[in-house]
């Protein structure tokens, strides 16, 4: 048979820089993406701690003023959603796992892949630069709504917002380069026998999420460009005729609502750009650690596709209070509730996979089960907010903050941790410390509940989000302050708890137990490389041939409780079942 995979030898690295800096190898690029994303994520974590300090103990910290508070809110949100989650899930895990899981030697466009990372790094540098310019970063909220985002009075209205929009535009270019690579690699570089329906669900999640990203990020790009026009050239795409600080501005007749539509046309699919890879990865972690095939594989695939499709027709549920036509609200509430159907199917299927499985309580499994809790919780509150009449009183309260943090903050992070604990041995050749991992899990899982469960009650009481201080607000009882202080303490504990994870990462990298090949006895291809961790080119002389799907766990009549995808029936069946 002829070689059917792009051969990676043409970019065989030599020397430190070629190997670790200007690398074309998808695994190195994945690590570069991941390290950068985790680094900015830590900045965003610190910002959230600063916010919580202000909310929990107002008037105690002189360095936090209303402007800086809004800047923390904005930068925390945008970094976490875009520069951490999107980059880590697709740039990090996508890059690492796609070629390995489909049996390829690398991405189909390695150079473009490298360019994607360096462009992403530039976007991060531009973003961080906004902390150091006059006026600081923008404080417009992560949604960057005009007109206030670019008007005087909002923190960072001069330079911060420009750098933010520029950084977003650069990020989108980086994502498009990476995304084209992921989609093309999955479609064109699968090894022999790896049909679409034999792909692990991780790949389905990444594949559909990337398509969503390719189609949704242009909306953010367009809104960023048009807002830059409004700010720099004085156009009135989004800017209405407005009186600002006693001065009549030159803008006329633009529509801020138009920006909201554009933003949420990106913003809602973004939730699934983050969630779908997480859905996929958690499915694989659950199946592997429960030693059982994933329940309803095809249903899971179609649910991912359906969620991806539906995510483009629900965006205006973020805008119920914008004064939209009630029929519009009815339409978007309906589509929003419909999306709960495939999502609930997935949750049931995870549970049914666990049901009577041979559950191994490993650290990845802890996080995966934790995810099912947090995701169900966040999903259920989504049903509240998806209904227009329930949303109206809850809009812009802490209920919303609690909801989206549960569903797209904590849940994907739980999966990310599960994934890191699961795939760390593959990447580094060493195991993460189990005891520290379990401690990390309990601090994170219980801690996040201690943060976000009470936050729902704050929302019920009408405590508004994004307020620096509540002041004398008659309808809010004094006890909310006690609750806020408690939440802050929990948040600080969770924040500090992440140091356990960072320590575990660094310590295990050098001193962790050396991993045997395929330590979790998984079936998918990434664990079947000749060397663990895989070396440049991944597969040695011959790329693997795939004979089965990725979920042959505990199959009766097979020699072991897992049958890798590249094993033939003759190699895997017991002798009396027709094996050798």
């Amino acid at each position: 048979m002829k070689e059917i995979q792009p051969i990676a030898d043409d970019h065989q690295p030599s020397g430190f820089f070629a190997k670790y800096v200007w690398s074309l190898d998808h695994k190195v690029i994945a690590i570069q993406y991941s390290v950068t994303a985790i680094f900015v994520g830590l900045i965003a974590l610190v910002l959230s701690a600063l916010m919580r300090l202000q909310l929990g103990f107002p008037d105690h910290f002189s360095f936090i003023d209303p402007s800086s508070y809004l800047q923390y809110v904005t930068m925390h949100g945008i970094i976490m959603v875009i520069y951490l989650l999107t980059a880590l899930l697709l740039g990090g895990f996508g890059n690492y796992l796609i070629p390995l899981m489909i049996g390829a030697r690398d991405m189909v466009f390695p150079y473009l892949n490298m360019l994607s990372f360096w462009t992403y790094l530039v976007s991060v540098i531009v973003l961080i630069a906004s902390f150091f310019v006059t006026g600081g970063p923008t404080g417009a909220g992560w949604t960057l709504y005009p007109p206030q985002a670019i008007l005087q009075g909002t923190p960072g209205a001069d330079n911060g917002i420009l750098l933010m929009l520029l950084s977003l535009a650069i990020f989108i270019i980086a994502f498009t380069m990476g995304g084209l690579n992921y989609v093309t690699t999955i479609l064109q570089a699968r090894t022999r026998g790896m049909t679409l329906m034999r792909m692990p669900l991780t790949l389905w999640g990444i594949f559909i999420a990337t398509i969503l990203g390719l189609l949704a990020f242009p909306a953010l790009l367009v809104s960023a460009i048009m807002m830059l026009f409004d700010k720099l050239l004085g156009t009135s795409f989004f800017m209405p005729a407005i009186l600002s600080l006693g001065e009549n501005l030159d803008y006329t007749g633009g529509s801020p609502i138009l920006f909201q539509h554009l933003f949420w046309f990106f913003g809602h699919p973004e939730v699934y750009i983050v969630a779908l890879p997480a859905f996929g990865m958690v499915s694989d972690v659950i199946a592997t650690h429960a030693r059982k095939n994933i329940f309803g594989y095809r249903m899971m695939v179609w649910a991912i596709v359906a969620i991806g499709g539906l995510s483009f027709v629900v965006w205006a549920h973020h805008m119920y209070v914008s004064g939209m036509n009630p029929y519009f609200g009815f339409f978007f509430a309906t589509t929003t509730l419909i999306i709960a159907v495939p999502t609930a199917l997935k949750v049931y299927n995870w549970l049914l996979t666990l049901w009577r499985g041979n559950i191994h309580f490993t650290v990845p499994m802890f996080f995966a089960i934790g995810f099912i809790f947090t995701f169900t919780h966040g999903g259920l509150t989504g049903l509240f907010l998806g209904n227009v009449v329930v949303d109206l009183p809850l809009s812009d309260t802490f209920f919303v903050v609690a909801h989206f943090h549960m569903v797209m903050g904590v849940s994907p992070i739980m999966v990310l941790f599960a994934a890191i604990y699961h795939w760390f041995p593959l990447v580094t050749g060493r195991m993460l410390h189990t005891g520290l991992g379990k401690l990390h899990f309990w601090v994170t899982f219980l801690g996040t509940y201690a943060i976000y469960l009470p936050m729902h009650y704050l929302g019920f009481l009408g405590v508004p989000r994004r307020y620096f201080a509540l002041g004398d607000t008659a309808f809010i009882p004094d006890s909310t302050q006690t609750l806020n202080a408690g939440i802050t303490v929990a948040a600080l504990i969770v924040g500090v708890g992440q140091l356990i994870f960072i320590f575990n990462l660094i310590w295990s990298l050098r001193r962790g137990k050396v991993a045997v090949a395929n330590p979790w006895q998984a079936t998918s291809l990434e664990w079947q490389t000749p060397q663990c961790p895989p070396v440049h080119g991944n597969w040695g002389d011959n790329v693997p041939v795939v004979y089965r799907w990725a979920y042959d766990y505990s199959v009766p009549g097979h020699k072991t409780d897992f049958t890798p995808q590249n094993k033939t029936d003759a190699e895997s069946l017991l002798p009396d079942k027709g094996g050798l």
Binding site: K2, V108, V183, G193, L196, F229, S236
Partner: protein
């Protein structure tokens, strides 16, 4: 194998194994690379289409606001007689035709084929440059006659649309230059013609986008109103 059959297969059944056998074993590296570039281009064009589609939607929505004055209609408006835009369109059409000629022309003699190819690629570049220069001249004329970017939203959209379209055409030059370089270096013919084929797609695509933008930007207020009504704005 047929994608529908793949998606409807039951991967957990052992008789699913025939899929393995039906895999096209004749695939080789070059085919994979050519297919990949094609797939990537299709997705890239989808991304670009979304960009133009979304701006067009906002344009149609914005066109129904009271302060919007279309650039065509009464004779004193710049695009009531958009002759300059027609000339520019002709340049882009010529570029699109010539690049197609470069990709499809067959000659019995290699030196004739080479000469034709060089000529066609140079002409593609030339006509595309003329289009871009023409668009810049239109910008200049518009600004000189008081239709600045920060004036009426119709002006702003004209600059935005044509700017983004022009940038995409300019980006296409990178691919075209790569084709020229590989031609000069006598790279293998199959690869060359595959890459040139992708450039042809791209140029055709940009021509079609431009014609749609042209129609949109030079329509009358009544047309905008009709389309906006159909879209529910």
């Amino acid at each position: 194998m047929n994608i529908n059959r793949q998606l409807l297969s039951k991967p957990w059944l052992s008789d699913d194994a025939d899929i393995t056998d039906s895999y096209n074993q004749t695939q080789c590296l070059r085919v994979v690379q050519t297919q990949s570039t094609k797939t990537a281009l299709v997705f890239f064009l989808m991304v670009v289409t979304v960009v133009f589609f979304l701006i067009s939607i906002t344009f149609l929505s914005r066109s129904q606001y009271p302060d919007f004055t279309a650039l065509a209609g009464p004779p004193w408006l710049p695009f009531s007689n958009p002759i300059t835009l027609w000339v520019n369109s002709a340049f882009l059409l010529l570029a699109s035709i010539v690049i197609r000629f470069a990709a499809t022309s067959k000659a019995s003699n290699e030196s004739v084929a080479n000469t034709r190819m060089v000529l066609a690629l140079c002409l593609t570049g030339l006509f595309s440059c003329l289009f871009l220069i023409g668009q810049l001249l239109v910008w200049q004329q518009l600004t000189a006659s008081g239709f600045a970017v920060n004036g009426n939203p119709a002006n702003s959209y004209f600059y935005l649309f044509t700017g983004i379209h022009g940038l995409h055409l300019a980006g296409g030059f990178i691919a075209l230059i790569r084709v020229v370089i590989s031609f000069v270096k006598h790279a293998d013919n199959e690869r060359l013609s595959a890459n040139l084929g992708l450039c042809v797609w791209y140029w055709h695509y940009l021509f079609i986008v431009w014609m749609l933008l042209f129609a949109l930007l030079t329509a009358t207020p009544a047309t905008y109103k009709t389309i906006a009504l159909l879209c529910g704005f």
